[in-house]
Structures are given as structure tokens and as C-alpha cells.
């Protein structure tokens, strides 16, 4: 861990801002992952096929 801490500390100007930003981003990222993996397979299949559906219907 020391090596990580050392490198973080020696970034010039590292202050609270990047930390807050990173934490914010991380929370959004984790929430999104949890959300997307909670969607059931059938729904995912339906959603991803939306652009292809109209092709079948309109016989393009």
C-alpha cells in the first residue's frame, strides 16, 4: 500500500477535489453495475433487439 500512497501523494496539486470526484464517480459506477446486472435476460434481449425489430416488420 505504501507504494500506492507514495505515488498518490507525489502527484502535484493532489487535493480533495480529485478524491471527491473519484468517489462520486465510483459510486455512480458501482450503482450502475448493480443495476444493469439486476436486469433479467429476457428484458435485455428485448431491448438490444429493438433496432432489428423494425427491419423484420417492414421487411427491409
Amino acid at each position: 500500500m505504501d507504494i500506492i500512497q507514495h505515488h498518490l501523494e507525489t502527484i502535484p496539486g493532489i487535493s480533495i477535489y480529485p478524491v471527491i470526484s473519484f468517489v462520486l464517480f465510483f459510486i455512480v459506477f458501482v450503482v450502475m453495475i448493480i443495476h444493469t446486472f439486476s436486469i433479467d435476460k429476457k428484458t435485455i434481449h428485448e431491448m438490444k433487439n429493438i433496432p432489428l425489430e423494425e427491419m423484420e416488420e417492414n421487411n427491409q
Partner: protein, 710 residues
Amino acid sequence: MDQEKFYYDNRIVKYFLYATLFWGVIGMLVGILAALQLVWPELSFNTAMTTFSRIRPLHTNAVIFAFVGNAIFAGTYYSLQRLCKARMFSDTLSYIHFWGWQLIIVSAALTFLAGYTLSKEYAELEWPIDLAITIIWVIFGWNMFGTLLKRRTRHIYVAVWFYIATFVTVAVLHIVNSIEIPVNFLKSYPVFAGVQDALVQWWYGHNAVAFFLTTPFLGLMYYYLPKAANRPVYSYRLSIIHFWALIFIYIWAGPHHLLYSSLPDWAQTLGTVFSIILIAPSWGGMLNGLLTLRGAWDKVREDPVLKFFVVAVTAYGMSTLEGPLMSTKTVNAFTHFTDWTIAHVHIGALGWNGFLTFGMLYWMVPRLFGTQLFSRKLANTHFWIGTLGILFYAIPLYWAAITQTLMWKEFTPDGFLKYPNFLETVTQLIPMYAARAFGGLLYITGVIIGVYNLVKTVTHGKFIRDEAASAAPLDTISGRRIQGESRHRWLERKPVQFMIVSLVVILIGGLVEIIPTWLIKSNVPTIASVKPYTPLELEGRDIYIREGCYTCHSQMIRPFRSETERYGEYSKAGEFVYDHPFQWGSKRTGPDLAREGVKSGRLYKPDSWHYNHMDDPRKLNEQSIMPRYSWLLRNRLNSCTTARKISVMQKLGVPYPEGYAEQANDDLSIQAQQIADGLKSAGIEVRSDKEIIALIAYLQRLGTDIMEGR
């Protein structure tokens, strides 16, 4: 359930599609001219309108907003109607959008050539055109949301999320970066100055790349790539994560354009950190695109549309790896201000935007005209010539960048700059510039073949103006979340709420960066000896802006020994507090000018030198590639608006004494006469009311303030 019959509006798609091709050819031809001017400066023709520094912004704007812009609209209008199973909300709004956008492009071209510019890269347009863009953009959004609200599908497909994010973010960026106070009908000053202006500009500039050149194209990729491959996108889950991560992170990365500049360190670090994180969502998009083709690579060999898409998505991947690497301080110290940046953006523009556009057009045109593509062979030829064109364009410029940056930084064993004469480092690059122009020529040859192929396809087919379709109407369900529906699932069927959440997500990054720079005074330490420009210098500065000097000259000395040795003391944030707009530049085709006026400096030149140099740079340096600006010696300075300019500056907080506007013209004449007298003693007869006098006054002022404080 009963099916409703309706018609897709293909005519608006056709209009935008033709405009894409038309402006694409024009924008790229102008680019070829600019590339050739760097090899043969005589091609600027010693005429203001055709000079490199006016041609270059015309090229960048034409390609970004005319070629890519129209391609976005063509692709969006086609896919949005089909993804919503509805005709566009209003045909009238569609056509106001189309003609309004073309009118903006034409007025942009005319004003750039005439020298009306704000000098903020990719936001150079003057205030009336900025206003027009805002109105037309709102009309586009109104039409898009109207269509979304009357759609016949419950879920809004991921491509449309990208369109929504594009709409809302471009609106925010454009409005914030265009806050300016008019002096007259075609002249204004931005409200921000110096460091703040630079931060806002590059927050805009970076996100123009993100939300005009990236997110709409990702939306197009998520629609047209599955269509062309006839298989769904590889992972819809990945597309959801990728979408939110991308729009959240992109907005923070702007300050990486200002590393080692006078921007506060914390903001620079923030830019770097987020740029590195950005690799993840960018590559999420790239992988999702490429993996959509898993098991279908045999089709890529056959189908030119997929070939274009594969190279486009690969170029996107390369650009979005290269960008973050260039955002680290170590690499940036090496690449910034060099041709590396130009190569980098062209991998994106020619590869990602250009090839995705052509792939999309080759797919769409036969369908709009109910026919087959005229020639698959010609499309393949276009693909190969275009790909070679990209390589011939980029590789010489990477080479040029490495050559020049090494020459800039090389010291002799005795500790002196090995190449103290900037021109030496430019002369080395001319063969690379010629090769780059050849690359551009190859690329446009491909484009012309493409245009021919598409025109032939059009003439062989019959246009389906209103395409019949049918779908069941949506049953009304509660606007609130229904039982078992997650928040995000709810959001996916509520376009307006979706837009609001996207807006909040992009605002977080923008506000954290910009507000502290406005509010915290310590971010820009004041320097007592820094004074406002004199009226003549201000007029000279406006000529510097009008002629686009910033396209080749920076005014930002970074704190490196190789730069302080060459140019003088490094630039401080407090030196730019009266610079509306800032003139730091982003490329050094010529030397930095931040300390041009410092008499004890290495770059100092007397007034007579500047006079002759503007007349013809090659009279003084045979190998110079700077264009001639001889009209400055003939044109009379228009000082009718000087007083008004001073008043506007006062409104912006520049501390001229009260009532100074009335006195400004007298002071201007006195200073101009002094310069004219000085030139006379050097053997140059010139009237004091010529534009060159004002420009000399400005150049001789550059960088001198902090020296006088000592």
C-alpha cells in the same frame, strides 16, 4: 391490438445527407489548401481572405459543424423515427432546423473569411451567429423530444440516450462558452478573461469533441452497426454502464488541454486523473462495437459498410487511448504545441467520424432510394484509398512532432539551446507537411469516389419520400414507477426526466471545475504591475485576433528550461487578467510570443523588423512559412469603435479610469504617432493611422508588464 399506419419522413434525411456530402467535400478541400499553405506559403496569395490563419478555422469549423454536424442530423433523423416507431414530431421544425443550420454554416464561412472571429477554437463565431445556433439547437431538441413523447415503443433504445446527452450537453457548453458582450453587430468580447477564459474554453473545446464528435456517433454506432451486421449489439448491459460512465467522466477532462500552463495545479491534476479513467468507458464502447461483429467477421470481408465501421471503431479506440496518454504531464510536455495534436485529432476526424459517416451513408442511401448500392467495388476502393489516406496523413505528422519537440528541447554540452533559431525546427518539418498534404489528397480522392458512387445509386433508384410503417400505439400507463420497475427502467421510458438526469450528471463535473476558478481569488494571484492595454494596443490586439495569429503562435511559456531559455520567463496566471479573450493558442507553428515585447528578451525585435516582417516574412527569413500580411501596411485603422470597446472592457471589470472612453482616441493618436516617428527614424515612412502601427504597439507590449514591476 390495432396497428396504426404512419409514414417516416425520408426527405429530411435526404436533405441532411446531401448537405453532409457537399460540406464534406468543401471542408476537406479547404483542409488541403491549408496543408499546402504550410509547404508553399505563397498559396496564401497575400490576400486576407485566403490567408492560412483564416483558412484554418474555416476548415476545422466546416469539417466539425458542417460535415460531421449534418451527418449527425441525417443519421439521427433516420434512426430516431424508426427507434420511436413514429414520424418526426413536426415537419416544419425539421425543415427550419435544416435550413437554419445551413444558413449558420454559410454565415460562418463568410464571417471567418472576412476576419470576424472570437479566436476561441471551435467557438470562433461572433455573437449573432452564436444566438442563431442556440435557437436552431433548441428547435432540434424540441423536435426530438416531441418525437420521443409520441413514440410507439416503451423502452428508449440506448442510441437515443446518446442523442439526448448530446442535445443537452452541447446546449450547456455552447451557452456558457458564448457569454460575450457585443461592441457592435459583429464584434464582442467574452466575459471571461485569461485563466478563467482558458478554462471555460477548453472545458467547451474538450467537450465539443466529447459531445459533438463522440456521443452522437456512439449513438449512430449503436443503431447502424447492428443494422449492417444484422445482429444485436454485443452487450446491452455494457452499453448502459458505458453510457453513464462516459458522460459523467468526459466533462471533467477539459483541463488536460492546459497542462503546465498558468491554470491552478489542482485543476490540471483533475483533468489528468479523469482523462486516464476515461479510457475505461471509451474502450467499453469500442469493444461493444467490435464484439458485435463476433462470429460475423466473414461479412466484414464482403461488405464495405462493415469495413468502414470496423476501421471507424478501431480509430475511436486508438484515439481514446492516445488522448489519455497525451493528458499525462510527462507525455504532454513532449506533445503539446506540436503536430502530434493535429495527428491525434485527424485519427478521430478522418477515421472515427469520417468512416462511420461513410459506412452509414453507404448503408442508408440504397434503402432511401429502394435500390442496391451502385458499385460495391468503388465503395471498396474508397475504403482502401481512405485508409491509406489516414495513414499517410497521420504518420508524417507524428514524425514531425517527435522531430520538432526533440529539437526544441535539445541542449549543447555547454548548456545552450542547440537550435536557438525557431525557424530551424520548422524547416525540418516541410517534407513531413508535404507528405501530410498527400495523405489528405488521398483521403479526399476516396471521398469523391464515394460521392460519385452515391450519386449513381441515387440516380438508379426511386426516392421513397414517405416510407410506410405500422405499429401498435402505446397503452397509457402511469407516469410514476409501476410496481417492480426499477428507477432506471422508469427513466428509460421517460425522455424528459432522462434529459434532466443527464444534465445533472454533466453539470457536476463542470461546476466543480469552473466555480472555484471564478470564486477563489487565490487561484489567480494578482500582479500589481499588470495594467490594462492602451487603446492602441487594444486595437492591435483585435487585429491580432482578426488575423488569427493564435492559430500558429502561442502566448504561454511553460515552466521548462527549454522554454525559458528560448522565450524568457514562464507565464504567470496574473499576467492575463485583462485578456478578453485569452490568446494562449494550442499550436506552435511559429514561436511563442508571450514575451515578444521584452527588450532584454531573446525574441525582441525592433518596430522596423515587425513592419518589414508583416509585409513579407521571407524578406527577412528566406525559409519562413509565415504568410504575408501586407494589407496591414495599407489598411487604415478603424478607431470609430475604440471608445465603445473601452466602455465594454470597463463593464467587464478592466480598471480604466472613469470617463476614459472619451479620452481613448486622443491617447491612441499620440501613441500611434510615437511609433510612426520611431519607424521614420529607422527609414520607414508610414502614416500613424495604419493598422500595422496598432499591431506593433500590441506586439511590443506582450510580456512586458511583469518586467516593469522590477
